[in-house]
Symmetry: C3
Subunit: 325 residues, 3 copies
Amino acid sequence: MTLGEIAGRTSATLTGDAGLAISGIASAANAKAAEIAFLDGDGKTPPTLSPHLKAVFANPAMKAFVPEGVAVLETPFPRHAHSVVASALFRPRHLTGYGAEPISSLAQIHPDAVVQPGAVIGPGAAIGEGAVIGPAAVIGAGVQIGCNTTIGANASIHCALVGDHVTVLAGARIGETGFGVLVGPSGAEDAPHFGRVIIQDHVTLGANSCVDRGVFEDTIIGERTKIDNLCQIAHNVILGRGVIVAAFGGISGSVRVGDGSMLGGRVGIADHVQVGERVSLAASAGLFRDVDSGETWGGTPAKPIRQWMREVAWLQKQANPKKSG
Amino acid sequence: MTLGEIAGRTSATLTGDAGLAISGIASAANAKAAEIAFLDGDGKTPPTLSPHLKAVFANPAMKAFVPEGVAVLETPFPRHAHSVVASALFRPRHLTGYGAEPISSLAQIHPDAVVQPGAVIGPGAAIGEGAVIGPAAVIGAGVQIGCNTTIGANASIHCALVGDHVTVLAGARIGETGFGVLVGPSGAEDAPHFGRVIIQDHVTLGANSCVDRGVFEDTIIGERTKIDNLCQIAHNVILGRGVIVAAFGGISGSVRVGDGSMLGGRVGIADHVQVGERVSLAASAGLFRDVDSGETWGGTPAKPIRQWMREVAWLQKQANPKKSG
Amino acid sequence: MTLGEIAGRTSATLTGDAGLAISGIASAANAKAAEIAFLDGDGKTPPTLSPHLKAVFANPAMKAFVPEGVAVLETPFPRHAHSVVASALFRPRHLTGYGAEPISSLAQIHPDAVVQPGAVIGPGAAIGEGAVIGPAAVIGAGVQIGCNTTIGANASIHCALVGDHVTVLAGARIGETGFGVLVGPSGAEDAPHFGRVIIQDHVTLGANSCVDRGVFEDTIIGERTKIDNLCQIAHNVILGRGVIVAAFGGISGSVRVGDGSMLGGRVGIADHVQVGERVSLAASAGLFRDVDSGETWGGTPAKPIRQWMREVAWLQKQANPKKSG
């Protein structure tokens, strides 16, 4: 697809080489040559740009940040225009990839794997030795399930590579489209997702928990990470090895959590936050800032645990003079 | 059914015309003639009453609020008695409406709709052009699914009208009975539900999220409203157009949220609260009061965001004198 | 299995009678003769020990707490060694107990029960008179479902006894393995679970809620207890009769809640906490301490509601001097 064709499809105004060929989509920070990116914002914060960037959608406010020599497609809806190109170049085979049979004849299922009644397995899926696919579970087209991995009843997995000795409990959702709202000419639209979910070996994912697929890159759950029931792991999150996430844990988009960190029940982490290794977050913490390795934080908004406890105790003492006097 | 028959079935004491015919049930605020309502409470707060109210169950404490000319059925368990009448008049066909075949021959499925393996579709359901029903998804009797709407794997929909271009992700639950506990002679009972769920066009509902059916009226999700994973939308809620609800959002019964409002992750709203248009609620907020259009609130209990941030900063400064001195 | 064989399999160092026969596993507090237990910890807190204890795994720090006459198997990974013995003695038939047919011919289904299309029922399951098993629901091997009980669409039940007149809404997960991480020679592992879930009569469990099976003992939900959508009830929890748990309620492992207590939306209770009867916990409360019968608590960390409200009001007044002056 040329930039000229892209400008036509998206009603964007092109400044640059109309003949430049585009074969992929990416974020502005990671774009390679032949990949188109987008810049959306209020023009106050300079974006991170890949040195290989050759073409970018931008709204009027962000246009000034585009370096010389990079083609610009100006539009009031850069993210929407980007998704139009993405959908033209790629066809996500999430739910439309199934055939007529519950267990596709185009799936590769190891003879020592067990597929329970009611399970659905799409074409191109591969199920490893000793794996168990639970009753009424759904394994999407092209999904890889490793050896000795167990998928619980009514769980569903799409757009994912799942390692060995993984346990996915009943009702868990892996690989659904993440939550991204973009503004198009008609109002709010869902941002299309093209990434996968990578679940490394020995991971456990609790009942009714969700791990969304990445937008352009992948969502990754590191080896021996253990996630409780009813947790939400958003798009592009990277959890390290041996991370513990207790029930109702909510990890927003693009968060990174280092090896061996422990999240108590109902901990929330805001998007793009970076958490180091061996960090502890107390139950109910709401974290909005980066935390260095080895620290323990609590409270909402979260802060170092001693500081939080000091504030809790001080407030209690001040507000209840008789009891604590 | 006459009031006399109703009094007999519910062991209530009737004051009024025993021959009055009742053909429906409603809340006291919305009852039309021929609909019976109930009044339950401690007698301290006057109820809102429909001008068309003709007959009502009431406990001794609430009896005094019944206007002259309205028949009263006195009972210690008015809500329970009301549900007994409701169940006699209406037969909710939630789970018992299926036939023997997975895809009912009494369902209307457009030839250009796709029904994936393992899906179950009840009698009287209608599936529009271009719709995709995912593997092992369940579409209940009489449910309407619009054009180009996608229902994810293992999702279930009952008692609902779903518009066009709607996306329901895997494991979402639409139209289950809401959470209402009433006290009957034997203890706690579930309040029966007779309303539906209305999902307007271009709505997205995240994985494993729930939208309960209304008690008497309907639960309504407005056009282009986008709801993330693991959210709970309770009975009788009305969300406007273009509302954004991030993960773990919890919206209690009968709440109204105006057009374009945005709820951060893990926001909770207490029942009957009214939220205006273009309101922002910060992540983790717990809202117990009405909020006017255009405001931004945060904290638990939630308050205007500047006030909340001032309190957080002030407490931190006071309790940690050295660091901030 | 003798202690000598057990020492060999687990690479533990035995001090005691190598010929002693072991036929079961238990916690140290509840072990009967012929059951092996484990002691794991830093050696600072003395463990509770059953008077019938005859053999126990212990790490070097805990060894000193083992009474004379009790055989000790010393290992750096006592809980892991214990799980190795457990898995050798018992074969949990969670997901591998299904046959080839969706409705097992070895299940006992009352002729007046209704099984909807797509449901899967394992061998040895029993479904009572008037029960309804919803579409694509999964009933595991050996599960008992009482009379007039309704199981919603896509729900799954394993390792459980479910009473009469119980309502399980769509997507609920009963009897999944609880969240317990133990440290083995290769890193984090899931603790095996051998207990069941007992759901007493007239209980309601909301859509997409989870009740985990017990580790050694059972998880128990008392009569007429009502649980809303998206709640998490962890392993070994015991809820009394008529307990109310609103949406997003999170009850951690081994918590006990007395009869008639009410938990508002998004209440969390930390593990092992004991809550009395008729206790009220305000919405959003995070409870880390025991609460006596009849009290009302709120806030995070939760405290008596008057104290919490006093602190909220005092902080607001101090930090916003003009408005409240």
